[in-house]
Amino acid sequence: MSFLTIVFKNLLRRRTRSLLTIAGIAIGIAAVVALTSIAWGFEKSWEQAYRARGTDLVVTKITSQSPMPAPFNEKFAADLLKLPRVKEVSGLLTDLISIEDAPTTLVFGWALDSFLWDHLKVVKGRKPSGDDEKAVVIGTVAADMLRKSIGAKIHIEADEFTICGIFESTALVENGAVIMSLRQLQRVTENTGKVNFLNVKLEPGSTQEQVESLRKTIKERFAGFNAFTSSEVAQSNTAIQAAKGMSWATSLIALIVGAVGVTNTMLMSVFERIHEIGILLAIGWRRSRIVRMILYESMALSFLGGLAGVALGFVAIKVIQTTPMIHGKIEGEISAALFGLAILVALALGVFGGLYPAVRGSRLSPTAALRYE
């Protein structure tokens, strides 16, 4: 008989209670898995968008926390072009706009001759032909969401535009967006001559050190501006930070509820077994072994709850992705790292929830515990 045999036999005594505790932990872990997966997926989709555009650095103005950086003069692009190894600089304007009945939609304004268009695959129609044309292209997911096709009219703020093309992008976040010429979006949002992002493309073959050096130069030379790599810009995005913050806050609440459940179960289990713990102490078990036995029991519950929670969380992600608000915009990230994180969190929950009952059980006096019935 191994030590773990005793642990599992103890858990099997009160099967219903053990199962209910496992279910409670599973729900908490499922919440962590689903929310973290979506937050990570959200971040990843933005990162993909910048990578797909071929952007090496993204320059924005340092502003207070808001979903989109504040617009600045587009002529700043010319200053960046003078820096070493900079091949192209493309200014763009991005905004979140509520379009007709659809939820808030990302609207991009891109210069029509910009390299930003290169990665888009226009599956139907064409891109706008000139800055004066009141036309937009929409992503495949946006087309579904807005229930619009080529030639249809679309109302953005007070203006009416014609859909001239439908595109597909490798970046999920762009597929749910509407893109028009930079001039048109500047006019619609009353930001004439302004952009809120500058996408910088370096000479081919630029090394990581050269990208880093350019980033430092921009930050030092242009006060009030910041330069990010594509992964950093996703991380620094306020919306992504808010999504991650929300996911952690909700996860934390779920975990606290889970930990209280584990503590309650293990305390009940200790109170029920006071007499037995007395026997174990009387026949020579060290107090540390009693602590270990109770901690292993709570960790076993948490581990099983963690496994069930991961499975439940993955199902929840699939369900959430089918909801109209999320569909096509965010793809939850299901990875080994997330699985590992969930199991680690579950085990930590077991240790945290089991510690007090374990210490309490180990501190019993053997004579008092033996008398206890």
């Binding site: 008989m1 026949i283 020579g284 078990w285 060290r286 053997p366 033996l370």
Partner: protein
């Protein structure tokens, strides 16, 4: 003359801030290889004395020495109990979810033995108390006599130097009580193990070589047969 294993020096034990005096000054020694019985009526302090001898409790006054060393000076009493003392209780105190074989292995976790070694030793011990056919039975499915024999096997698990039995036949009929006492007597004779049995029953006390009578927390007689 054998060496002294236990020396009890003017031991007193009170509870409830001195309102209850369970032991009022016990003084005696137990020699290596001795089989002693502590006899007295219910509530006379004999079980309290046994718990003190087994390092489960501490005296309010006085001290107990094991091989000349005060129990109060032993840093790890759990380890001391595991390696030195075997306990047999009136209510058997077996773990109900573990089989007889598993119950006997419980104290062995404190010894540096492998799982296979633990199993081998537990099997041998159960065979030695006539339970070779009941290894995988759970305590609730066994008779009182069988359960007490499992408890005896468990008390011998770590090859203790002292076996303490608290009313070992208290929950048994006379036939089973006799059988259990014969087992204890045989263990004492074969292994030369020091044993102290607490009982209220003179028939049980008569199995021992020495009878210490206790009344109202005081030793009133101490006779060797």
């Amino acid at each position: 003359m054998s060496a002294v294993l236990i020396e009890v020096r003017d031991v007193q034990r009170s509870f409830d801030e001195g309102r209850v005096q369970a032991l009022r000054g016990a003084d005696f020694t137990i020699e290596e290889g001795e089989f002693a019985a502590i006899v007295g009526p219910s509530g006379c302090g004999k079980s309290t004395l046994l718990q003190l001898l087994g390092a489960l409790d501490e005296p309010s006054e006085g001290e107990i020495l094991f091989r000349g060393k005060s129990l109060l000076e032993i840093p790890d009493l759990c380890r001391f109990r595991a390696q030195t003392i075997g306990f047999v209780f009136q209510s058997f105190h077996l773990l109900p979810t573990l089989t007889a074989l598993e119950n006997v292995q419980i104290p062995m976790f404190e010894m540096p033995w492998s799982a296979a070694e633990r199993r081998r030793r537990a099997t041998e011990l159960l065979k030695s108390v006539g339970l070779g056919e009941r290894l995988h039975h759970l305590p609730p499915k066994m008779s009182g006599g069988e359960r007490q024999r499992v408890a005896i096997a468990r008390s011998l698990a770590n090859e203790p130097q002292l076996l303490l039995a608290d009313e070992p036949t208290g929950n048994l009929d006379s036939a089973n009580a006799k059988r259990v006492m014969e087992h204890l007597q045989s263990i004492h004779q074969q292994r030369g193990m020091t044993m102290v049995v607490v009982t209220h029953d003179w028939n049980i006390a008569n199995f021992a070589d020495r009878v210490i009578r206790i009344l109202d927390g005081r030793i009133i007689s101490d006779n060797r047969t």
